[in-house]
Symmetry: C2
Subunit: 294 residues, 2 copies
């Protein structure tokens, strides 16, 4: 399997059942579609420390099948024996029905819809993994197969079809997962994606604690902030760390939703008590460090 | 002691050391300065279930002292024997020095400063628990003795004194605490405070799970949203609940900082994975329920 969201969860579950797990990933880092490689290094460490045989930069070329069962995965670097193979290849919008019906499909490969989830064909709405959504940072149409988006779109489309009024206001690509105790989250653009979008971006990474340093059970997290060089406008963020690290992405997603700059974010009034945060929450520290670069 | 932030933490620590704990509180609910009484009921239950003898609506009238040691707390309802007494009476800005120096003090009782922490007297700055801060929801000057504000103000004042440029952008009164496993947090105005501020506000309360319902360890939380009736503008929020409930207040604080309406908040792109959240995060559910009332 590839080392994306599903790959991580499957690997964790198979390990917990006592199986020997090998992960074969074509890219040079796990979760390449959602994390910058510097942030993914913590995922690499966690997987290898847990006993996963993680083979990066390796393409699967085929399978060896005997008596109707897979016995090995063939790779560029030789075969890997296996009793069980799980394949994670990503997601592509299935728009065959829409195309056959003459409904417009965008360059992203998703069905084009407006904010009310109407397709270009009267009386036809579309929602979920098959549609193109507006990315709020770039303004471009993207296909993102996330359950959060599909749920919101389905509700909005249903409301509109039934004569109500509801909008779907675009996506940031906010997502979270974990591998054992390591929490992993992102929102907006990675540094790599920002550059690919033609934005003049910079990135800073901050190490911070989830609690007051003296409080029992304090664990560290790493937050990477991507921002626009001239303005300081937040473009995206990534978090990798221990307990209570991941869900802090929602604070960054809310700031991003509102188009905040890192300068303004550094002054936000977030909560503090020793069991929950240092006096300066990691999000404030990360924003402050980024603000110093603008 | 009173049942405010400090009272809760002290009570928890004394209980953990095996002491019998009585809490005497003048108001009819604990944390009266920071929570609406309907939200405080969960705090009452947690304290009483933990064995705290919580006496609400009871005024302390004096102390019985014998051989230089307190032996009892006198109340309107009779004496309470005690080996150790902890007094929590709240905080008042100490502006004696400022007043003596002719520095202007506001109606709130705090020293008046501008966004650069300058007092009305040239070359004098002030920061911390003694100053009046601008409440971002009401626009009024308030004294709030929170370490997060004092830290940010000290940093901004120091930067300005040293010839740099830094602002303090006001407060929301975001705060968090816990009693044993119960997490308690608030930001902005309570329903009570909104009414006292002359705002036409309404409130809705939502019960939601911290994780996907089927995920091991799922626990419930209660989120109360206070919003402006005509516009749906968020005015404040309170959270009381189990694991991972409290820090969600920062998402609400970030929305409040940006002046969002509950209608817009319901569509935000927050993170989801079963170990961290239902598909609709509790914050989205709470905002959506409030939006239906606008």
């Amino acid at each position: 399997m590839g080392a994306g969201y599903i790959g991580l969860e499957v690997a964790e579950n198979l390990l917990a059942r006592g199986l020997t797990v090998t992960v074969i990933e074509k890219l040079d880092a796990p979760m390449g579609a959602v994390l910058d490689s510097d942030m993914a290094s913590a995922v690499v460490d966690a997987m290898r420390n847990a006993g996963v045989d993680l083979r990066l930069g390796t393409s699967v070329t085929g399978f060896t099948v005997s008596d109707g069962r897979v016995t090995a995965v063939e790779t560029e670097a030789g075969p890997v024996e296996a009793d069980l193979v799980v394949i994670g290849l990503g997601v592509r919008a299935n728009t065959e029905l829409a195309r056959a019906a003459g409904i417009a499909v965008g360059e992203s490969g998703g069905i084009i819809v407006d904010e009310q989830l109407r397709t270009g064909t009267p009386h036809v709405w579309a929602a979920g993994d098959c549609v193109e959504s507006r990315h709020r940072v770039t303004g471009r149409g993207v296909v993102m197969a996330l359950g959060t988006h599909a749920n919101k779109q389905g509700r909005a489309a249903g409301t509109n079809i039934a004569g109500g009024e509801a909008r779907f206001d675009g996506v940031l690509g906010t997502a979270i997962t974990k591998f054992q105790q390591l929490e992993i989250a992102r929102t907006g653009l990675t540094e790599h994606e920002a550059a690919a979008s033609g934005l003049d971006a910079f990135a800073v990474t901050t190490e911070a604690s989830n609690r007051a340093g003296y409080y029992p059970g304090a664990q560290s997290m790493r937050i990477k902030i991507v921002a626009e060089r001239q303005t300081g406008r937040l473009l995206g963020a990534q978090i990798v760390g221990g307990e209570d690290a991941g869900k802090r992405i929602d604070v960054l997603a809310t700031a991003l939703w509102n188009g905040m700059t890192v300068q303004e974010m550094g002054g936000m009034d977030l909560s503090y008590a020793p069991p929950f945060s240092p006096v300066w929450d990691p999000v404030l520290l990360a924003a402050g460090k980024a603000a110093a670069e603008v």
